[in-house]
Amino acid sequence: MRTAGIDIGSRTVKLAIVEEGEIITSSIADTTHDPLEQCERLMAQTSFDRILATGYGRHFFETHFDVPTVTEIKAFARGAKEIFPGCRTILDIGGQDTKAIALDEKGRVFKFEMNDRCAAGTGMFLEVIAKTLGYELGEFGREALKGEGTIQINSMCTVFAQSEVTSLLAKRQKRENIAYGIHVAILNRTLSLLKRVSTTPDIVFAGGVARNPCLKYLLDEALVRKIKVPKDPQMVGAYGAAMIAGDSIEIDRSIY
């Protein structure tokens, strides 16, 4: 049986098709102003027997296609546990959410926290600051690694941090040092969230921001090299949802 998981995030839509526990194909698209169309486009390129939706947009998907849903928390928990069976802690930093999830030995969620309504320290935050510094998002982390830890960013509000960065630029500070400082600020915020939930290894770092090498490096340093990053960190939620779709007997609806 081929099961699908679709993770409709604030920035990207991810679709994973799973057969016998392995991803056989996966695809990703920007969420855009019309997420439904994006979902349909991704789904049209493949086939599956059942599908389960997760992510910020799961509810409109549920209403539109009459498909069951799980939260990102459960989906990431399952995905991370499948990829790293020793996983006890998950850090997921997505487009507008940061989540810390603690698992028991059997992989069940027993505690979780997420950021409040503010996007501080999320992918969106990185995107805004990268742009202010004149970087592409894809090179931001790499370039930040070239910086030195001489600058402290005090504000974690996206808007305030942006103006702080602008004034540092006006003071002719090197942009890679500012970039490094921004990553350290995100690190500190992330660590405080993790410490409230769990720092038990293995700690799996997932979500789009896990592709940022500077943040991964800093987390690894701070947590004494206990961080594990999946090959495709953005796909963990979709993969988890597809796996859950495979075990629920009551879910038996195909839409294509």
Binding site: T71, E72, I73, K74, M114
Partner: protein, 426 residues
């Protein structure tokens, strides 16, 4: 039936008619979306639908009629104000508007931005001229349950006479003596306003009326322990909210009618949720009318609220005033003792609240507890740490939510609540 035009009355009361129309339109829509869309509601909820639809109309007209007869209307914000004394002198005790995000611009002219939503709301309602209850009140009674309210009443007093009762912070003999002094002084103030003395006869009657109201609410609380519950948490919260507004005798009668219907449902095994639906206890800050946010999020996420450990809920109904006092003195003592039992988070220490939460979680067969504090509500926010720790020790799943009256965080709240429910279900 043609709806009566209450605009002349509202105008006389000094309401801002344009803003008030908008408010009623928004509330009417919210009620339709949140309440009328529920399936399988008890028939007797029609009484509450009616009270809601006439909350700013017929009910205000009744209050104005009472005032014409020389009876007084006393507006309150808190379950510490002894309604028995108001009832004894023929007065009506009403809760004042404090549960909607309204008049915020006005409120923020006089209050800091990081003030709790409830305080901002009552100030906003008053300053924007949108609460007919405060307009109709002969006296507003405040209390010192938190710093925010305490200081805000000084400002409110500039716009409407506000009498403040001092609530002790501990529960020693000295504190009881202080509270007794406050109750006696309030009695004098009420007598002065009403132009009538509190006597053993009328106080006995007042105690009886308020106790009967509490008994009806206690009965409802018991019935909700059934599996499956015969009434939604949204509807039960509404009942508790309306208990602060409607005529107590009529309210009590109608809630017993509702309870009769609910008991019938329980006998027939009929509920508003499937068996196995996660049962949630909501604990924490008061949910003033029309703050329906938490039960709305919970009950649209596949769970049902079975109890509220809140001032709009168990905290206001748990204890009765002893009815066997013969003399006025004894009755006053009974009132003092009853109100001293309230486990508001303004007290330190407040271990009895945690005990009550554990008892209620057990009795209501809750699968999990959601601790709700209004943002910037320091007493409940800080106390949530101890609540969470104790519940975790007892292996009762708990989710802490801090939120205000805005709707912009509903998406994230839903994710958190749904993930919590996935956890509860295992």
């Amino acid at each position: 039936m043609e709806k009566k035009d209450y605009r002349p009355m509202w105008k006389d009361l000094g309401l801002n008619l344009e803003g008030h129309d908008q408010l009623l339109a928004v509330l009417g829509n919210a009620y339709k979306d949140i309440y009328m869309s529920q399936e399988n509601r008890p028939k007797a909820m029609q009484y509450l639908d009616f009270v809601i639809s006439e909350a700013h109309g017929l009910r205000i007209e009744e209050l104005m009629e009472e005032k014409r007869k020389g009876n007084k209307v006393i507006g309150t914000f808190c379950v510490y104000v002894p309604e028995e004394l108001i009832s004894a002198v023929g007065g009506t005790c009403v809760g004042l508007c404090a549960g909607a995000e309204i008049g915020i611009d006005e409120a923020e002219k006089v209050l800091p931005r990081n003030t709790c939503a409830l305080i901002k709301s009552f100030m906003g309602f008053k300053l924007a001229g949108l609460c007919p209850y405060i307009q109709a009140s002969d006296l507003v009674v405040g209390e010192t349950t938190c710093d925010g309210k305490k200081k805000a009443y000084e400002i409110l007093n500039d716009y409407k006479e506000t009498y403040v009762m001092e609530i002790p912070q501990m529960k020693t003999e000295r504190d009881r003596a202080l509270w007794k002094g406050e109750v006696l002084q309030f009695k004098e103030r009420v007598e002065e306003i009403a132009g009538r003395k509190v006597t053993p006869e009328n106080l006995r009657q007042g105690i009886k009326i308020v106790n009967e109201k509490r008994r009806a609410l206690q009965r409802l609380s018991q019935i909700r322990r059934a599996a499956p519950p015969p009434i939604s948490g949204l509807d039960a919260l509404l009942v508790n909210q309306i208990s602060f507004y409607d005529n107590p005798l009529r309210f009590t009668r109608n809630i017993h009618t509702l309870c009769d219907e609910l008991e019938e449902r329980v006998r027939n095994g009929m509920g508003v949720a499937k068996n196995g639906t996660p049962r949630i206890l909501v604990s924490g800050s008061p949910m003033a009318l029309p703050n329906w946010k938490i039960p709305y999020v919970v009950e649209t996420s596949g769970a049902i609220v079975v109890a509220e450990e809140s001032c709009v809920g168990e905290r206001s109904t748990r204890d009765l005033v002893q009815e066997d006092g013969k003399s006025l003195d004894k009755m006053i003592d009974a009132i003092v003792d009853r109100y001293m039992k309230i486990d508001c988070a303004c007290f330190t220490p407040n271990e009895e609240r945690i005990e009550h939460i554990l008892d209620l979680a057990r009795d209501s067969k809750a699968d999990g507890v959601i601790h709700y504090s209004i943002q910037f509500c320091t007493p409940y926010s800080v106390e949530s740490y101890k609540v969470e720790k104790t519940l975790q020790q007892k292996n009762i799943p708990v989710l802490k939510i801090e939120s205000d009256y805005g709707m912009e965080d509903v998406g994230q709240l839903k994710t958190r609540v749904e993930a919590f429910l996935e956890m509860v279900k295992g």
